[in-house]
C-alpha cells in the first residue's frame, strides 16, 4: 500500500502510555499483515503466489480470503463493472511499481483480456482459492479498507481514534474535545482547499479520485479501470463514501466511480450509504441524506 498510515488516539487518564502504544502497534500490524497477503506489487505476497497456481485449490489466510470474498460479492453486485481480475491489465498499463523498491513487477502470468471474476472460485468450507485460468488479482479497492477495519478494531476501547491510510480513514468515537471528528474532503483540483467537511463518529470515509494516480503509459488512464468498457471512467472526478466499515466505503466509492453519474449515485442509495460525489464538471452531488 503506497500510503502513509497514521493513527491518532484520544485516551483517558486511566490508560497507561505503554498500553496505548502497544495497542497502536497492534493496529499498525494489521496493515503489515494485509499487505503481506494482498499486495500485487511483490511477487512473494500470498496473493501473487496463489496467482501462480492454476486449477488447484490453494488454502489462503483470512487476510487474503476475506477481502477477496468481499471483492467478488461486489463484482457480482455490479455485474462485473467492479472486477478484481483487472490485475494484469493494470500491470500492463504501468501500475506495477513497488512503492518501496521502485521495482516494477512483471508477473509471469499470461492471462487473456477475457478473464473475469467468474474465473475465481472461493470455497468457504476449506477456505481455498481456485483459479480456472491464469490471471492476476487486484485487491486495490478493498484491501486497504480491510486493513483499516482491522486496525480500528484494535483501537475500539479508546474514547476516540482515527486510522488514516492515505486519506481513506476510520474515525472512531469522539475527538479530544468530545465532538465527532471533523473530516475534510480534498478539492480534486486544488490540493490546498477542502471542498466539503463531514462530522463523523464510528464511520469510515473513503475517497476514490482520478486526480491522484495517472498512468504514465496511457494518456487518459488512471488507476481506476472498468474492464467492461476497457477504459478509465471519467464521469466523476472524486467519489467519497461514508460507511460503517472502511472495506465497504472503499469498495463502494470505487464502484460508484466506475458506474458513473446515474448508476453510481443509485448504487450508494440502494445500499443505504451516504456519499459526496463530485462530477468532472465540479458539480457536487450529495447522496443518502449526507449533510
Amino acid at each position: 500500500m503506497d500510503t502513509v498510515v497514521s493513527i491518532q488516539v484520544v485516551c483517558g487518564e486511566s490508560n497507561s502510555m505503554e498500553m496505548v502504544e502497544a495497542q497502536i502497534n497492534r493496529a499498525f500490524e494489521a496493515f503489515y499483515h494485509v499487505e503481506q497477503a494482498c499486495s500485487r506489487f511483490s511477487i512473494d505476497s500470498e496473493l501473487m503466489r496463489a496467482c501462480r497456481q492454476i486449477e488447484t485449490p490453494v488454502p489462503v489466510s483470512p487476510f487474503l480470503f476475506e477481502p477477496l470474498k468481499f471483492a467478488l460479492e461486489m463484482a457480482q453486485w455490479t455485474d462485473g463493472v467492479f472486477d478484481p481480475t483487472v490485475g494484469k491489465v493494470m500491470e500492463e498499463h504501468g501500475f506495477n511499481r513497488h512503492y518501496l523498491t521502485g521495482q516494477s513487477v512483471q508477473s509471469t502470468v499470461t492471462d487473456s483480456e477475457l478473464v473475469t471474476y467468474r474465473d475465481i472460485v472461493l470455497n468457504q468450507q476449506d477456505r481455498t482459492l481456485y483459479l480456472k485460468t491464469p490471471l492476476v488479482i487486484d485487491l486495490g479497492a478493498v484491501a486497504k479498507g480491510f486493513a483499516i477495519d482491522l486496525a480500528a478494531n484494535e483501537l475500539n476501547q479508546f474514547e476516540g481514534f482515527v486510522v488514516n491510510a492515505g486519506g481513506d480513514l476510520f474515525a472512531g468515537g469522539v475527538n479530544e474535545q468530545g465532538y465527532p471528528w471533523e473530516i475534510g474532503i480534498q478539492h480534486p483540483e486544488s490540493k490546498e482547499h477542502i471542498i466539503h467537511t463531514l462530522d463523523v463518529s464510528n464511520k469510515a470515509v473513503c475517497t476514490s479520485g482520478s486526480y491522484e494516480r495517472k498512468s504514465v503509459d496511457v494518456t487518459g488512464m488512471h488507476h481506476i479501470y472498468n474492464p467492461t468498457t476497457r477504459q478509465s471512467p471519467n464521469d466523476w472526478i472524486s467519489c467519497t463514501v461514508i460507511a460503517p466499515f472502511a472495506m465497504m466505503a472503499d469498495a463502494f466509492s470505487t464502484a460508484s466511480f466506475m458506474l458513473g453519474l446515474e448508476k453510481g449515485s443509485r448504487l450508494i442509495e440502494q445500499v443505504g450509504l451516504e456519499g459526496i460525489l463530485i462530477s468532472s464538471k465540479l458539480q457536487i452531488v450529495k447522496v443518502g441524506g449526507v449533510l
Binding site: E18, H33, P62, I183, A243, P244
Partner: protein
C-alpha cells in the same frame, strides 16, 4: 442499510481473530492485559461482535515502546510504511494553577518519507500565541499547509482537520506541532 454488506465486513474482521492471528503473533506487545480488558468493556460500542481475543498472559517485554510522548513512532520494521502516532491527553480544566506548558518558543519537527516540516510554536500562559513554519522541505507544495498555523492558533491544538485525499503534509505538520507541544510540556 443493506445488512448484507455490514455482515460481510464484520464476519471478515471476525475471521481474522477466529484464525488466531492477532493473538499468537503480537502477544509480546501486550503490556497490561487486565487494564485493557476493563477498558474494553466500557467503551466498546462500535463493533461488539468483533472483540479481539485477549490473552490473559502478562508479558512485559516491550519491543517497540518509547516512554516519551514522541510524536513520531517509526514502525517501518513491521509496517513497510512510514507511520506516525500522536497522542492527546485531555487537559483538566479544574487545575488551572498547574502550568502545562512552559512559556517560550519551541521548535518541533515532523517528517515522513515525503519530507519534513519544522515549526516554531510560542507558548504564553499555557496558550499557543504564535505558530510559524520555520522550515518546509516536503515534496509537495507549501500551499498545502499554509492555513494550518492559523488553525492551530484558533483551536489551540495540533488537531487540525484531516484531509481525505492529501494527508502527507498535514500529518507532518501535526507531528511537528505535537513535538513542539511535548517539548514545552516537559521543559
Amino acid at each position: 442499510m443493506d445488512k448484507k454488506w455490514v455482515i460481510l465486513c464484520s464476519t471478515a474482521v471476525a475471521a481474522v481473530y477466529a484464525a488466531g492471528y492477532f493473538t499468537t503473533e503480537t502477544q509480546a506487545s501486550i503490556v497490561q492485559p487486565p487494564l485493557y480488558i476493563e477498558e474494553n468493556h466500557q467503551s466498546n460500542d462500535v463493533q461488539p461482535n468483533d472483540m479481539p481475543t485477549i490473552s490473559s498472559q502478562t508479558n512485559n517485554s516491550q519491543t517497540n515502546n518509547s516512554q516519551t510522548n514522541s510524536s513520531q513512532t517509526n514502525n517501518s520494521q513491521t509496517n513497510n510504511s512510514q507511520t506516525n502516532s500522536s497522542q492527546t491527553n485531555s487537559v483538566e480544566p479544574t487545575t488551572p494553577i498547574i502550568r502545562l506548558y512552559q512559556d517560550g518558543t519551541y521548535t518541533g519537527l515532523g517528517k515522513n518519507r515525503r519530507g519534513s516540516i519544522q515549526v516554531a510554536v510560542t507558548f504564553k500562559n499555557d496558550k499557543i500565541t504564535d505558530v510559524e513554519i520555520s522550515k518546509f522541505a516536503m515534496h509537495y507544495s507549501k500551499r498545502d499547509v499554509v492555513g494550518l498555523p492559523e488553525e492551530v492558533l484558533q483551536i489551540q491544538s495540533a488537531q487540525v482537520r484531516n484531509v481525505s485525499g492529501a494527508t502527507y503534509s498535514t500529518r507532518a505538520f501535526k507531528d511537528a506541532i505535537n513535538d513542539a507541544m511535548s517539548q514545552a510540556q516537559n521543559a
